[in-house]
């Protein structure tokens, strides 16, 4: 069953207005261009991309935070724009920026959350107890959120998102600001949630190693969907190994390699990249053919970053970072 369907989604942020209603010089910015994908029940679906790629916009549209300016998105068959309240009932949302009230205790935060979802009384108490013990925070229930560490706060956020037993959990950059230990904990927990509860999850991330843990990944760049599939199949498209060569004259080296070995290669950020099978056998030939042009050689199995480079022709982080989230 398809839990989320995103169909030719477009979004343009309006030109920003100042206090006095004058238009600022920045015109409307198109954040999503014709993005389509579907999320299957029970899978962890990753939205991977650099900042400004469109993943947070997609997250905001799916969470009914903003309506799209074009196309459709639906959750459990309900259109996010026309039936937002039906969508909200089934949706658990974990925000990137803390949505907890720091001046309240863990328990109080969850209590308010429950009330907003129409839960109350003994049923709510029991649910809070269950969800807190599940994220192993029952002993901190009476602590003010402001005294908790970042990792623990994120667990409370997660508990908050799970309290009303949603069918779909949306997480925006869930491991931002977490140390490696807390990050691992979080992903262990998400994995548990998937295997035990068959929870469907949509996770936005800019971290390759996080995207690797998803069942399927949609790669977004400058508002466009550039790749979609399981991490393995995406990496498989590259085939074989990735060789990258540091050189003082990368362009010259590129032409030379293409002429001599008839191998296709490209220059990305000053290094020459070649994708081919049995890379380890190719390297000695390369080095002996152009001893003066090769400074260092690196051989690796393809990563999702290589997929990104293949699809966009540039590095993940060199993408235009100026278009920040709106």
């Amino acid at each position: 069953m398809e839990v989320v369907v995103v169909d030719h989604l477009n979004h343009t942020y309006p030109a920003r207005r100042t206090v006095r209603g004058r238009l600022s010089q920045r015109a409307g910015r198109q954040a999503l261009k014709d993005v389509s994908f579907a999320v299957q029940e029970g899978e962890i679906f990753g939205l991977l991309g650099p900042n400004g790629g469109g993943k947070t916009t997609t997250f905001h549209i799916l969470s009914t935070f903003i309506p799209p300016t074009g196309g459709r998105a639906s959750v459990f068959g309900h259109d996010v724009q026309r039936e937002p309240s039906r969508v909200r009932e089934r949706l658990g949302v974990v925000f990137q920026y803390p949505s907890l009230d720091k001046k309240l205790t863990v328990w109080e935060n969850l209590e308010h959350q429950g009330h907003l979802y129409g839960l109350w009384g003994a049923d709510l108490k029991e649910r809070i107890g269950t969800v807190l013990s599940r994220v192993r925070l029952l002993d901190r229930a009476r602590d003010l959120v402001e005294v908790l560490s970042g990792g623990l706060r994120r667990r409370v956020e997660l508990a908050k998102g799970l309290l009303h037993r949603p069918g779909l959990l949306l997480l925006d950059e869930p491991s931002t600001g977490l140390d490696p230990g807390a990050r691992r904990d979080l992903w262990d927990y998400l994995g548990e949630l998937q295997s035990r509860e068959k929870m469907t999850m949509v996770v936005t991330t800019h971290l390759m190693e996080e995207a690797e843990k998803c069942d399927r990944v949609a790669i977004l760049n400058e508002g466009q969907l550039v790749a979609l599939g399981t991490p393995e199949s995406l990496k498989h498209e590259i085939g074989g190994d990735v060789i990258s060569i540091e050189s003082s004259k990368p362009d010259e080296l590129q032409t030379a390699i293409e002429k001599r070995f008839a191998a296709s290669c490209k220059v990305v950020d000053g290094s020459v990249r070649i994708e081919r099978e049995r890379g380890h056998e190719f390297i000695p030939q390369l080095v002996s053919a152009f001893p003066d042009l090769v400074r260092s050689v690196r051989l690796g199995k393809p990563t999702l970053e290589d997929v990104f480079i293949l699809k966009t022709g540039h590095r993940f982080w060199s993408s235009d970072l100026e278009g920040e989230r709106a």
Partner: protein, 265 residues
């Protein structure tokens, strides 16, 4: 339980709990008005002779500390309304409000809970300030007390609603501060809180009569008695003043509901 009420109540309760957990906010809302009242009231006391305003016969016996008393209450209410609604701006993009906006709770319950929360806080503080009455020789008729409480409630409701309406449309707290200095404080200055309307030049009297806050302050002044006279003869009849205050509250609330229910906000 009704979901609308459940959501409103929980948001109302949150406002109260948060407020009392932050001592700086309690001091911030009550402290400055009391200090202004005491300093301005004492300082101007010698130069401000209400006797120079023959038309305002009923206030001739009052000193400035007494005259400024109801205006101070209006200021306490205004400050509390501002402080409790300014959080909306920060909360919206990174904070508690985000999760309210994506929950099934209706926008109406959010508006009601938030505004009633601020109203309650402003009301409580205004009532606390009434304890100073006997100290400065102001008396309140027992019957007038109920009248006074209803005016205080309606005024708190109206000003918190106004704060909500402004805060919802702004994307920076700096913007709110600008509006506070350009609109809210002048509104208070021209409400008869600092000086009687009767003594102002004609053009100012005109502006002051257009200001809804003038009627609330006037209603408050009517409730406080000094030497057997109310502090002001009042702009309208007591009922008229309450009615204007209630209409102001209804208007800001309706507009807040309308603004917050628009999609894409």
């Amino acid at each position: 339980m009704n979901r609308f009420l459940l959501a409103s109540t929980t948001l109302w309760q949150r406002e109260l709990v948060r407020f009392f957990r932050q001592r700086s906010r309690v001091i911030g809302a009550l402290g400055p008005p009391i200090l202004f009242w005491f300093l301005i009231g004492s300082g101007l006391g010698g130069s401000f002779r209400l006797a120079t305003l023959p038309s305002e016969a009923s206030v001739s016996g009052a000193n400035y500390l007494q005259y400024f008393f109801p205006g101070t209450i209006a200021l306490i209410v205004l400050f509390t309304a501002i402080f409790s609604t300014i959080s909306i701006i920060e909360d919206r993009h990174e904070g508690f409000l985000q999760s309210v906006l994506v929950s099934p709770a209706s926008r109406g319950s959010l508006v009601l809970g938030k505004i009633l929360g601020g109203t309650t806080l402003a009301f409580i503080q205004a009532v606390l300030f009434l304890c100073f009455c006997p100290l400065v020789g102001i008396s309140i008729h027992p019957l007038a007390f109920l009248f006074l409480l209803s005016v205080l409630f309606l005024l708190s409701f109206g000003l918190t609603g106004l704060g909500f309406l402004l805060a919802w449309q702004l994307d920076s707290t700096q913007g709110f501060h600008a509006i506070m200095n350009l609109l809210l404080i002048p509104m208070w200055l021209l409400s008869g809180a600092l000086f009687p309307i009767a003594g102002a030049p004609a053009w100012l009297r005109f502006v002051m009569r257009l200001n809804p806050l003038s009627y609330s302050v006037s209603a408050l002044q009517r409730s406080f008695w000094v030497h057997g006279h109310p502090l002001s003869a009042g702009l309208l009849s007591p009922l008229g003043c309450v009615l204007v205050t209630a209409l102001f509250g209804a208007a800001t609330f309706t507009l807040s509901m309308w603004t917050a229910s628009r999609p894409n906000t």
